[in-house]
Symmetry: C2
Subunit: 498 residues, 2 copies
């Protein structure tokens, strides 16, 4: 092992510690921090980000990487994969000139703040000029990354969130979904219209009881409270570091079902981080592979395992143990109707799993055009309405329920959206493989025990982290490249069979 490689490991460990501090401070910002302290926190976070960036882009990094690569033969498989990931991370960080990084970060901050107000006021006109400025800068950052990696601008943007993710992989998958889903949706809606209606939940469901239920559930899922916490925040998220997992949810006293499902989703993210190999946590090769696989793990929990009839049956019992009131509303049949309800809506984050990919296809289409400059920002609301009509058959009356609903674009995240749907496809394919490989998984889930599933995921997905590419990990675990077949079969089995 060369001195250069050792020096690189030390620097990446240092960046990892700084990144961990940023993650905990970010969690605190969303859960604990009093509102009036936002300014000082922003200074702390930006200082740590700059320090991390300076370590990454130190003048001698290029030489260290070259020297380590010249002696790659001395490295074992993990180390050489680590070196490849170091090069990848460094290329992203060093591709974009410092002044552009700063301009982008400041404009994104301003744009995100403006978006919060504009969305509240349903006033796209005031957001538009800032968003246009931001897109120009994102495009320039994409150009710089595109030159460094020798891929297209949009691919270079995707690559930040999902290393190795490419439009050429996404297009055929999304094209199949585009063909498949509208017809499938129509059938599901027809079938659900003919079924008995949901028994409406009658709360209140006290927050303390919901919290207790959530913690029981997390214990079923294998969450380790000795290395993690559950708290509440405005939007649920999974944060912290692998050894100190901080997940959040939000509780609605009138309806426990969304808060509970958010807990399951975020626990899925957390379990991925928690079962990464301990020896490599501080190095790039030991990090979770990217947003597609990350989302596949949360959706595997939320959509595949926890919404299975087997688990809903168990959940109905668990819910009944935690709340008083009319038990009929929590029985398995009704709970399944609630959790399997399909209904085209305007808002992505509220969408069911059948319509969700259509929301993503719309964003994928529009963001490529925005980055390419073939769609003007001023025309975005109209293009959005047109797309919603085409894909989902509904049109938002307000831009706040349309093209202003998501934080991603106003915060500068272009190329992120596809990973949600790629993750859903991967979740179905991985879960199908897991159930096929290990027949104890479903009987255990039926008893509220996720241990066999977790073992399978640890062995087949989590143990590789960034040692292989996303495509390799999926193919090794499921025996085939990512496709739509498992997802389609899953939807047909859940929503169209008896």
């Amino acid at each position: 092992m060369s001195e250069a490689y050792s020096a690189l490991e030390q620097r990446f460990a240092r960046m990892s510690a700084v990144g961990g501090a940023i993650a905990i401070l970010g969690w605190d910002h969303a859960t604990m921090m009093p509102e009036g302290s936002a300014e000082v926190r922003a200074r702390q976070l930006s200082t740590l980000s700059v320090i991390r960036h300076e370590i990454m882009t130190a003048p001698d990094m290029a030489d260290l990487l070259a020297a380590a690569e010249a002696n790659v033969g001395e490295l074992n498989f993990w180390q050489s994969a680590n070196l490849r990931e170091m090069r990848h991370a460094w290329t992203h960080a060093s591709a974009v000139p410092g002044d552009l990084v700063e301009q982008l970060s400041m404009t994104a901050s301003r744009c995100e703040m403006a978006w919060r107000q504009a969305r509240a006021d349903n006033d796209f006109a005031t957001l538009a000029p800032l968003l246009e400025e931001l897109i120009k800068l994102v495009r320039r950052s994409g150009e710089a990354r595109s030159d460094a990696f020798g891929v297209s601008i949009y691919d270079a943007l995707i690559d930040q969130y999902d290393p190795g993710g490419r439009q050429a992989h996404i297009d055929p998958l999304f094209a199949k979904l585009r063909t498949l889903l509208p017809e499938l949706l129509a059938q599901v809606l027809e079938r659900q219209a003919a079924a008995p209606p949901v028994v409406k939940l009658t709360g209140p469901f006290p927050v303390a009881q919901q919290d207790k239920l959530a913690r029981s559930l997390m214990t079923c899922l294998g969450f380790d409270f000795n290395r993690g916490r559950l708290d509440t925040s405005h939007h649920p998220f999974s944060g912290g570091v692998p050894e100190d997992s901080r997940i959040t949810t939000r509780y609605d006293e009138d309806d426990f079902t969304p808060g509970l499902m958010a807990v399951i989703h975020e626990t899925g993210h957390s379990q991925y981080e928690r079962s990464l190999p301990a020896d490599w946590l501080e190095q790039p090769v030991g990090r979770a592979r990217g947003m597609t696989l990350h989302e596949s793990q949360s959706l595997l929990y939320e959509m595949q395992a926890a919404r299975s009839p087997e688990f809903i049956n168990y959940l109905a019992w668990l819910v009944g143990e935690h709340f008083c009131g009319d038990k009929r509303q929590y029985n398995a049949v009704n709970l399944q109707r609630i959790y399997h309800k399909v209904s085209p809506g305007l808002i992505r984050v509220d969408a069911d799993e059948v319509t969700y990919p259509l929301h993503i296809i719309l964003r994928y289409r529009l963001e490529r055009q925005l980055i390419a400059g073939t769609l003007k920002v001023v025309d975005l609301p109209a293009a959005w309405r047109f797309g919603m009509q085409e894909l989902l058959g509904i049109i938002p009356e307000k831009d706040s329920d349309g093209c202003m609903q998501d934080i991603h674009w106003p915060s500068g995240a272009f190329g992120y959206f596809p990973s949600y749907t790629l993750g859903a496809l991967a979740a179905a394919q991985i879960f199908t493989a897991a159930r096929g490989n290990d027949t104890t998984i479903m009987p255990a889930i039926a008893k509220g025990d996720f241990a066999p599933l977790n073992d399978w995921l640890r062995t087949n997905i989590h143990s590789s982290p960034s040692r292989y590419t996303t495509s390799q990990i999926i193919e090794r675990a499921t025996g085939e490249p990512l496709g739509v077949t498992a997802f389609e079969s899953h939807l047909r089995a859940r929503y169209l069979s008896d």
Copy 2:
């Protein structure tokens, strides 16, 4: 303003942001972090400490300081005081060689861990060799600082916690207390023995109610919950940063009185930080002056204002509003008996304000001898017992209630203890001046309103931060140097007059 000075301001602002991150992560460690995450947190904290130290000891810092000092004439009063404080902080950081800093930090960690176990086991023998090793390293660090500042080794150690603090100032004050207190204590005990006994509190006092009471009280004291929080931890402390104050207490369901007083004490610390001038928060000149003044502010709240008969009367009403049960136990007379109870005991942190300085005098005496090498570590338990007998007339049966009770020495903090008692003297002197200068302070406190007191403190103490020395601040605020007169008068008035 020279370029060098500007560059220094930027670097100190960066250190301040890193220090703020460390403070929040430290708070999280004590309040929120799950136990199993200690290791990764230690890595995050030590990485940030090393980064801060590297910024401070960067190779060009000496030149920057010299260049700025050469042009000090261009600076205004705040800036030149800031430059002086920069030089002071840099001298401390650069005086001690890097390998000694590291050795000291590692040995202190190991010693502190050993202390936790040794205290639990009442086993001084296993702690002794580690403590001896640590003291050697502390002495070497003191020697290095002593050379850099041209003061004695012990003065150089004090100076880390209380800049400008010197044995020559402390000795005469402590000598007076040593003469005064035992006799005064005997009189107080005799008097209290003749008074009616305390009505014993009969709980339980539910934590939720205690917490509500604590928050009401903090509001009276002027705590801004939009820039701060109250939580619980094993030991109460005041942490975070001036713009994001994180204080803690602990609740005992059988007795609300200590937890409540801890809240008042920590709020005193917090108010000092919170009312530092906003423009200078990121610079050394804008930081709180040192531990003597800091402790004076917490003790001014806890011992002077909140234990005044005027406030206890208000507090009795507030307590009665929060708890059911026999109201006689919360009436002002009984509450005052509880909060004015004097009783020599073995444990410093449980001591009343009459006996507390005797605990400090013992530690002050012993730690100087330990650093000078005239007291061997192996003889510490016997010396402790001898001193306790001489000063307080009681002898601990176990070293865990004796020389192993405090975390300070096993964590490497020598020269810290005196500030507790200097703070108590300063609190009495400052509160006497405040009440004399502004006659609206006590009538307001009698109604639970600390605003006039806070205004006076802001103007006379908090607005100067590190612009003046501790001695100058006390003299400017009270018209005379720090002495024991106000403290003695305070004790006589509270405990020996009718």
